[in-house]
């Protein structure tokens, strides 16, 4: 039996770099083209958002799950809500689906207030974390469920269901019941079912959490291709930052019912808005200090604790005399033996190697400064041979470019 488990959900485009032959004018652009064409409606003041949250709050008794939150999501966007469990991301999604009603604020879809619209009348479909496949119905009937509720004509239902089955490559499994399918197949049935009605927005609640690691990696790319193919706005809830970064055009980092930052993956990683974001996405060194000078040339921070003066990229938030911290990612820090040539002009920290770990693609060093702080620096293993090996207790100098460090005031 061919389970289709190991194949890609959507075949990758045969010609990736050129216009696919015979593509109709109305077809959605590929991701590459989107990026080339600068798919960034959030930066375009004329762009009309598809979904708007305006001052939305949701409280359960004393606890505030969503706290005065405003957010705009644009058509065709793949948007991710990322945060630890209990940050309110699932509540936000359920508010949009209509399973929860906001305690305050408005949610609009295409300018229409969704306040009084019950879940079954919203042109929004959801893929549940548990998949929520109807156990008493076959795969075919599961996918047809939504179309039947809409009183779509029978031949049209048959056509659409078959189309969906082809899309998720489950044509051979149409007559099976959900319990006869593998986890990956169930996930695809859930996806097909929620796409069958061609919703304006597809909500995905931790869609890949139940899959094993290898399958998850493949499915991420399948999902991305699928979104481009169907041209529907996707909103995904996840706690896995890699998943969010692979899939999403923009990511919202949530914390305690509020949004910390909304940005495309690269901006989120390279220009975090707060310590929380910098720390949540990837690894980071946070060095506390006081601003001594701020201007277009950068921010000069006196890091009293570590006993160094650091220079970061320019920041509007930095005011002279204000406390803050310098955030620098381990891979942006160069590590070299101490006393080997003249020390770098700025942003140099001396220390000894406290610990290191060889991780294959890179080696991670933990360096202890004289002040006792631990700074992480990583070095890409570009060669199979380590030309100047560093080991425990070696004296080293850490340095980084001012532009690679970010000043954070919160």
């Amino acid at each position: 039996m061919d389970t289709g488990e190991d194949r890609l959900l959507i075949p990758p485009p045969a010609v990736a770099l050129t216009e696919p032959p015979g593509e109709a004018a109305g077809d959605p652009p590929r991701r590459g083209q989107q990026q080339n064409a600068g798919f960034a409606p959030w930066d375009d003041p004329a762009a009309v958002p598809l979904i708007e949250f305006e001052g939305v709050s949701k409280s359960y008794g004393e606890t505030l799950a969503v706290d005065d939150l405003s957010l705009a999501i644009y058509p065709r966007e793949f948007f991710a809500l990322l945060g630890p469990s209990g940050c309110g991301k699932t509540t936000l999604m359920r508010l949009l689906a209509g399973f929860e009603t906001p305690s305050a604020g408005t949610i609009r879809l295409e300018g229409r207030d969704l306040g009084a619209v019950p879940p079954h009348e919203r042109p929004i479909n959801m893929m549940f974390q548990s998949y929520a496949l109807f156990p008493h119905l076959s795969v075919w009937d599961n996918i047809a469920f939504g179309l039947r509720r809409d009183r779509v004509a029978k031949p049209e239902i048959a056509r659409r269901v078959d189309e969906m089955l082809t899309l998720v490559q489950l044509t051979g499994q149409a007559r099976r019941k959900p319990h006869q399918l593998s986890g990956g197949q169930r996930q695809r049935v859930a996806l097909a079912r929620s796409l069958a009605k061609r919703p304006r927005v597809l909500l995905l609640d931790e869609p890949l959490a139940a899959l094993d690691k290898k399958l998850r990696g493949e499915t991420q790319f399948e999902l991305m291709n699928l979104q481009e193919e169907v041209g529907i706005t996707f909103l995904i809830v996840t706690h896995d930052q890699e998943e969010a970064m692979v899939l999403a055009d923009r990511i919202a980092i949530m914390r305690e019912g509020r949004i910390e930052q909304v940005a495309p993956p690269r901006r989120l990683y390279e220009s975090p808005a707060s310590r929380y974001v910098a720390d949540f996405v990837g690894d980071v060194n946070l060095i506390e200090g006081t601003v001594t000078e701020s201007g277009p040339g950068g921010v000069r921070v006196a890091a009293e604790g570590i006993g160094a003066t650091l220079l970061t990229a320019p920041s509007d938030e930095a005011a002279t005399g204000a406390p803050g911290c310098v955030a620098v990612r381990p891979e942006k820090i160069a590590i070299g033996p101490a006393g080997d040539g003249p020390p770098p002009a700025h942003n140099a920290l001396e220390g000894v190697i406290y610990d290191y770990a060889y991780l294959g693609e890179y080696t991670l060093f933990r360096v202890r400064t004289a002040s006792g702080h631990l700074i992480e620096a990583s070095r890409l293993n570009r060669s199979r041979f380590d030309d100047n090996p560093l080991t425990w207790d070696d004296r080293v100098v850490l340095s980084f470019e001012a532009d690679d460090a970010v000043f954070l005031d919160r």
């Binding site: 019950p118 879940p119 479909n125 509720r149």
Partner: protein, 261 residues
């Protein structure tokens, strides 16, 4: 621990013997050719033939089956609704109390249930007969249905219902098209349980019956007081068969459907 040791064999045998020896004896003696109940006189099915000629017993059996059927249907509807309400209304104040109150009749002595219902029927001037028995049976049977259905509902994934709503089904429709089919095994088990409980009952029926509405257990009990005749054994055997089939079907429907997911 899962090995079949002599100790296990002995305790199992003793347990089952304790439970079923009297019943086995009754079944054996229902095939007794002798007029005397306790003396074996050879195999015969004549008491079954006699049974089907006994109009009183047949009438009682007909009433019992009718009462049991009506009770099962009413109790299933009411018990399921109660179970749904108790499972869903998580923010209802005093929910625990309500749940306990649903379960209380399970352990309430039947004499008390019967007596209190009798008092009620007399107080409101309800003429006793078929419907009073049915109402009385429904009262206690619905508790059993509620328990069975509630245990299934607790493990029911609410997101199934949400998924149905999400796909365009209004709440009632989601309940009918998704929830009911999913908990159907439990509902069916509840129906069968209510049916057999009603068929079994003697005490409550005695309190609430009226002229012309004697149930099978009542008829059997009254004829036994005048002396056990072998055709009663035959009637009991048939009753046992009914109840056994009912209970086994209830268990199996709940179990089979449970194991497929």
């Amino acid at each position: 621990m899962n090995r079949f040791t002599p100790f296990n064999a002995v305790s199992l045998t003793l347990g089952f013997a304790f439970l079923y020896l009297p019943i086995v004896l009754l079944v054996i003696f229902s095939f007794n050719a002798s007029q005397l109940v306790t003396v074996w006189g050879g195999f015969s099915t004549k008491w079954y033939a006699a049974l089907f000629a006994n109009k009183q017993l047949l009438d009682a059996a007909r009433i019992s089956l009718l009462v049991a059927f009506t009770t099962a249907c009413l109790a299933t509807v009411l018990g399921t609704l109660a179970a749904v309400a108790l499972t869903r209304a998580t923010r209802l104040p005093g929910r625990t109390l309500f749940t306990a109150m649903t379960y209380a009749p399970l352990v309430m002595p039947e004499v008390i249930t019967g007596l209190s219902l009798l008092l009620l029927f007399v107080a409101v001037g309800f003429e006793r007969g078929f419907w009073t028995i049915t109402i009385a049976h429904t009262t206690f049977a619905l508790c059993f249905v509620a328990v069975v259905v509630q245990s299934r509902l607790l493990s029911f994934d609410r997101s199934l219902e949400e998924a149905a709503q999400d796909l365009g089904a209004p709440p009632w429709r989601a309940f009918v098209t998704v929830t009911i089919p999913t908990i159907l095994p439990a509902i069916a088990a509840g129906w069968l349980l209510a049916f057999t409980l009603s068929l079994d009952d003697l005490v409550i029926a005695s309190f609430t019956s009226g002229p012309g509405s004697t149930t099978l257990p009542m008829r059997i009990f009254s004829s036994v007081r005048l002396g056990v005749s072998p055709d009663i054994n035959a009637a009991c055997t048939i009753l046992i068969a009914f109840v056994t089939v009912g209970v086994m079907a209830a268990t199996l429907t709940a179990k089979l459907r449970g194991s497929t997911r």
